[in-house]
Symmetry: D2
Subunit: 134 residues, 4 copies
């Protein structure tokens, strides 16, 4: 299966990414760009987007980018730094690129930006590349 | 303000934690325990809970535990390892404890377990302790 | 091979751990305790131990604890928070415990303390458990 | 003080960076490039460079790059992924760049490469920017 078909299949069954209203802007083997709009349900007690929202967008980007090579991948370790608060109605965009594509390990970095192109979060993810294929 | 009042106030305004159906099981200065039920909207394309769900539960636990001392805290750096898949209708519980309470920095670890008391995720969080109080 | 023999073999060939003067205080399957004395060569430009010293002690502890099950393990991802400065002639002790022993992944936490039993660093490590045995 | 003078001063007093034979190849505000030669004393029990060596080189790069703005900085959180083994007599180079320069927080990434320009380690570091100046 090609990168686009794999991500279409993953996205179609992904109830949570649908709840978030995630748009797939770009996909290629090892990389992808996703975006979503920050809604009222996504805000925390400070009136800004909950940290779980930018994490989830970045984590979906990691899943799509790493699986798009055709080998099934599972997340081993992820980290995120929340750099700038995100407001209601902001559009946030996660851009995932590949640092390493090893035999069993893949490493990715995701920059999450807002509509003003400001960096709001930086995410690093490591995946295990299984032998199962899509 | 005491720990319980601070968390009540944070929780009351937190639309996303409410969407997740988070229950505050225990709160004390520097520690807390939260739980939620995994619903259909929380599943990803593999039919298991999206990584963003256990992250968000742990991140709320970090926010409540660190702010409960009375000083306002913001997250600097968080990481999570997803250890075991979580299924529909599982109840997941995040237990946050304090590693360090410094002048400007606080460090916390969160264990996320399921109803069988199996570790499903392990989260580490570092916060900046501001001078603003609740 | 038993845990102690594996670590003896690893330690015997480990020129850098020898340069550091590492003592193996305790070893069992999945856990170990190491210590060393902070010498003049280990200090940085602030007159305290270089961050690389407590990292290296913790990283050796990770290697010994994870390999001691008998399966060869390689580090995937490590992180360390430096909590308290370490002075010349301090004795620092790294205590490594196992969080998870999966089929292919192992997870460990290492607390590094000084002779006053103060936490000076906290380290997390994830290893890949290969099929090669000792 | 300018970036070069700050790093000269830090390096001059840094016994451990001197033991490692660190060369400062480039320094500017918020960035630097360091290298060193892997000697026999730096090898572990597998006959490759101990993980503490590439960590220490990257950690020195973090210290020099972050302090070179003139404000004293201390490390809050660092992580490193060891990607490729390093052999005796390899020359390793750490290139540190700035992701964020906030009021109190700075974030940096360090790529460590060998003489064949292969990525051997990837390091992320977060510092606290104190009010003390050089």
């Amino acid at each position: 299966m090609d990168p686009k078909s794999i991500v279409d299949k993953m996205m179609q069954l992904d109830a949570y990414s649908q709840w978030m209203g995630i748009n797939v802007l770009h996909i290629e083997a090892g990389a992808c760009t996703l975006s979503c709009l920050v809604s009222k349900e996504m805000l925390n007690g400070f009136g800004i987007a909950h940290g779980g929202i930018s994490y989830a967008l970045a984590d979906s980007a990691l899943a799509f980018a790493s699986n798009s090579h055709g080998q099934q991948c599972v997340s081993i370790e992820t980290s995120i730094a929340h750099i700038k608060p995100t407001q209601l109605n902001d559009t946030i965009t996660a851009n995932c690129t590949e640092i390493q594509k090893g035999k069993t390990i893949g490493r990715y970095v995701v920059n999450v930006t807002n509509q003003h192109n400001e960096l709001i979060a930086r995410f690093n993810g490591t995946v295990f590349r299984s032998e199962k294929t899509w």
